[in-house]
Amino acid sequence: MTRDEALFEFLLRMGDNTLILGHRVSEWCGHSPVLEEDIALANTALDMIGQTQLWLGLAGEVEGKGRTADNLAFLRDAWDFRNVLMVELPNGDFGQTLMRQFLYDAWSFVMTDWLKGSADERIAAIAEKAHKEVTYHLERSGDTVIGLGDGTEESHRRMQAALDYLYPYCGEMFEKDKADELLAEAGIAPDPAELRAEYDDIVGRVLAEATLAIPGGDYVHKGGRNGRMHTEHLGHLLTSMQWLQRAYPGAAW
């Protein structure tokens, strides 16, 4: 594996995470429990789609085969996606959506913070912009997790159920393979495992305040970021996300 091949893989992972989660969050548009949350979630989704354009745009550039961010987003099939499994899971209820957002935001926060100092200036520039957006996302999703976790009996029960369901998906964000090793040696991206301590610190602080208990057990659902095995849900998501470009190739407005 060459450095550029590793870099391409890394950029797909970054861009596919924001693309797939951005799409999931956008599914709430017009359906949120209150107008204010509806607009806030749509803003978050748009921020993530914006980050996707940068990550996948650079991925296409690095690959050097003339593929644009749009090509990569709309013309790949499920097995070519490199997002972690957590972001492709269905939204569940509002609490589960916000719990997932928080568990992802905390990772995205420490990741983009590290990447601001990447040896690759193009990556550092994207991270600089994304980190400001992610800082706000994390503040918002963290506050909501606290509000609902330490809220009514019902909201607490739903948030604990969401955490029990989602927590086993967190570990995949810290998995490491050959591509990660190559980029870590070059100072381009972190060794994913290195981010874990700061992540655990943020997540632990918020969940404690939310009066929620991190479930025991160390089983980790994985197979998304290396493309080995996505969940059945990704295909369904792509079917609706990619439909227009598949049915009307090259359509634009």
Binding site: L35, E36, A40, N43, D143, G147
Partner: protein, 94 residues
């Protein structure tokens, strides 16, 4: 509805050092979330540099029925607009 979040009045200061201006209202469970919701609802198009939120119940307002005694007396006092005076050019803008 009893379970509804309280109403907040939102004030935004624009880009050019103007004072905070009332832009609308929204619902939020507390002041912190009201600021966040205001950020998302009212500053998406780069409208502001500062946000104030006030819970609507804390605003004391004049009663529409008192319009007469409150505001009509000033209608006949046009001399309070200083438009009758010749201002020397040397004064410049006032």
């Amino acid at each position: 509805m009893k379970n509804e979040w309280p109403l907040w009045e939102i004030f935004i200061r624009g880009q050019h050092g103007l004072s905070h201006r009332h832009v609308g209202s929204l619902h939020a469970p507390d002041a912190e979330m009201a600021v966040k919701n205001a950020r998302d609802v009212y500053t998406r198009r780069n409208e502001g540099v500062s946000i104030w939120v006030v819970e609507a119940k804390h605003i004391a307002a004049s009663a529409p029925s008192e319009k007469g005694p409150l505001f009509e007396p000033s209608e006949s006092k046009i001399y309070r607009h200083p438009t009758f005076y010749d201002i020397p050019d040397e004064v410049g803008h006032m």
